[in-house]
């Protein structure tokens, strides 16, 4: 069996696709990639459809030994990966591109800088049977992905392909713009459970990501938000990015591993365009929230999707690991005759 063997586990690496969709009525959380943009880019770099499952790296990634003739991997996100071969010192690799790795080589995914998540995709995907139509890991119930849990040392991640498909390596033209400024939100479903002062606090104050931030949600610290009708509601459905405010008055943004229904009033919901940003936030970061309309949010999401497709259409050829980058040789040799090793801009 061709596989990637986990030589050293990262902090919280799970197999994720775009989510286990269609079973919320049965209490099944969707799970799925925290940063849909990052997973889509990794998949596109690997030559996969966007729906393919990849590895979501949480804060620090694993060391993976190639137990296949070869494999094409693609990394997306601010990583500083390295290739380890025999006793030679680790050789830095670029992120935001694909690499063809050979049997016996070890990919050190490494630390993520400035984001909580990054993605690794393998060409052809993992040879893991879907559960309820998805490969997304929901670790709280031990469901989906690789044995329903984060990766551990000695795990063998089975690969669909025995060798990397022919073709060039590709890289992202430039870092994808996730947006900056306030996190855009849409009021509701229960904004009427808050006082006018409470709503104003929410959209004017600065909030800090607390240490309680994981795949289920992010608990923020900052000024408390005043309720007018109380924190409790008759439980109803929780959409992605719902911002619930329990009695203590501090907002919690609910993400992929959120429960399907809940009984706290939800002041607003993060616009889907900004969910990938939320999925990358590290503890200690500060954010502000700004309210927009549903129509604006839908438009922003369509724009983001168009930019994502343009970024994919604009992928450049990249130098295969250890080989020659002909494109760069042509471009740069004509200027100064020397090709410098250059680290990816992150």
């Amino acid at each position: 069996m061709s596989a990637l063997k986990v030589i050293r586990a990262g902090l919280f690496d799970t197999v994720q696709d775009l989510g286990r969709i269609g079973h919320m009525a049965l209490g099944m959380p969707t799970a799925g990639a925290m940063d849909r943009v990052g997973l889509t880019l990794a998949n596109a770099l690997a030559g996969n459809p966007a729906s393919t499952a990849g590895l979501e790296i949480g804060v620090m990634g694993p060391d993976l030994l190639v137990e296949a003739e070869s494999v094409r991997v693609a990394l997306a996100g601010p990583l500083s990966p390295a290739l380890i071969e025999g006793d030679a010192p680790p050789r830095p690799l670029e992120s935001d591109r694909s690499h063809r790795l050979k049997r016996g080589q070890i990919l050190r995914v490494g630390m993520i800088e400035g984001s909580s998540t990054a993605y690794l995709a393998v060409a052809g995907g993992f040879a893991i049977a879907p559960f309820m139509g998805s490969l997304s890991t929901y670790a709280r119930a031990g469901i989906g992905g690789f044995k329903g849990r984060k990766l551990a040392a000695d795990d063998l991640l089975p690969l669909t392909l025995d060798s990397a498909p022919a073709g060039d390596e590709r890289k992202l033209g430039g870092p994808f713009d996730y947006g900056s400024g306030p996190i855009r939100v849409i009021w509701g479903p229960q904004d009427d459970y808050f006082s006018e002062a409470g709503r104003q606090t929410f959209v004017s104050a600065e909030y800090t990501v607390s240490k309680e931030a994981d795949r289920m949600g992010i608990r923020f610290e900052g000024p408390t938000i005043e309720h007018s009708k109380g924190a409790d509601i008759i439980s109803d459905g929780i959409g992605p990015g719902a911002i619930q405010v329990p009695g203590a008055g501090l907002p919690i943004v609910l993400l992929g591993d959120r429960q399907t229904v809940g009984g706290y009033s939800k002041i607003a919901t993060v616009a889907s365009v900004d969910l990938p940003r939320l999925g990358r936030l590290l503890p200690g970061r500060t954010v502000r929230f700004a309210a927009i309309s549903v129509e604006e949010a839908e438009g922003l999401r369509r724009d983001q999707e168009a930019r994502l497709q343009r970024a994919i259409a604009g992928f450049q050829l990249a130098r295969p690991a250890g080989g020659i980058d002909l494109t760069r040789l042509y471009e740069e040799n004509l200027i100064d005759g020397i090709v410098y090793e250059r680290k990816a801009v992150t």
Partner: protein, 244 residues
């Protein structure tokens, strides 16, 4: 019928039928859930992703790259205007339950004392309750089953248990539930079913669905163990427990 549409971002909205827990309102939620399912099966409601029923609201999720709120909401309105079935017909499900012994029913004596009944009367009231699944949530496959006989209403325990076994049958407020996993819980434990509410090995891992009518059937410890063995081995005929 007047409903309120509540925004849940740009990928979902909620159709709220009222602000109380009642069989009538939950019936309307379930009827719209079913009507949406039928419309989709007929090829309609493009861009709608799924619907999530709860006690008094139906959340509709959609793909903002395939449709918009402005396109979808009038279609939902039209479904409601066409008239929802008074009481969507759900499945009738039998759940064998053993109420015997301290291991399976550690809170039975206390529930009896607090409701001024004998343990046998508590069991009889549970067996006679016209239960219906209102909503699933909290964890995959956990059903909030309303319809508990009013004389058994008790608030949740002040001190939740950290760990209780899978398939425990419990009551609190006006509801009963069955724990799909070993988990913490604050309800009163009065029995155990040999059935698993969640079984990864089954094609449909979740046993109960919103709208199901539930009847508990009393079994003794020996019957419990016999059925439990079949569940464990994956040889139980689950269809036998369901009437469409």
């Amino acid at each position: 019928m007047s409903v309120r549409y509540l925004s849940c971002g740009d990928t979902a909205f909620s159709v709220e039928f009222g602000n109380e827990i009642s069989p009538r309102i939950n019936g309307q939620v379930m009827a719209l859930h079913a009507a949406v399912g039928q419309a989709r099966a007929a090829g309609g409601l493009g861009g709608l992703v799924e619907t999530v029923p709860s006690m008094r609201a139906l959340m509709v999720t959609y793909d903002p790259l395939a449709t918009t709120r402005a396109e979808l909401q009038p279609q939902i309105d039209a479904l409601i205007a066409r008239g929802l079935a008074a009481d969507a017909v759900g499945r009738k499900v039998r759940i064998p339950c053993c109420y015997d012994g301290e291991e399976f029913a550690p809170d039975l004596a206390e529930v009896a004392e607090r409701t001024k009944k004998t343990p046998e009367q508590v069991i009889a009231a549970h067996l006679a309750s016209p239960f219906k699944v209102y909503v699933l949530g909290f964890m995959p496959g956990l059903a909030y089953i309303a319809g508990l006989e009013p004389s058994l209403y008790l608030p949740r325990r002040t001190q939740p248990r950290v760990r209780l076994p899978r398939s425990t049958v419990a009551i609190a407020m006006d509801m009963t539930t069955i724990y799909p996993f070993e988990s913490p819980g604050g309800w009163h434990l009065i029995g155990r079913t040999p059935l698993w509410m969640f079984d990864q090995r089954r094609e449909q891992p979740v046993f109960l669905a919103p709208g199901d009518s539930i009847t508990f059937e009393r079994i003794d410890r020996a019957q419990h163990d016999a059925i439990a063995q079949k569940v464990e081995a994956g040889t139980l005929d689950w269809a036998e427990l369901i009437k469409p």
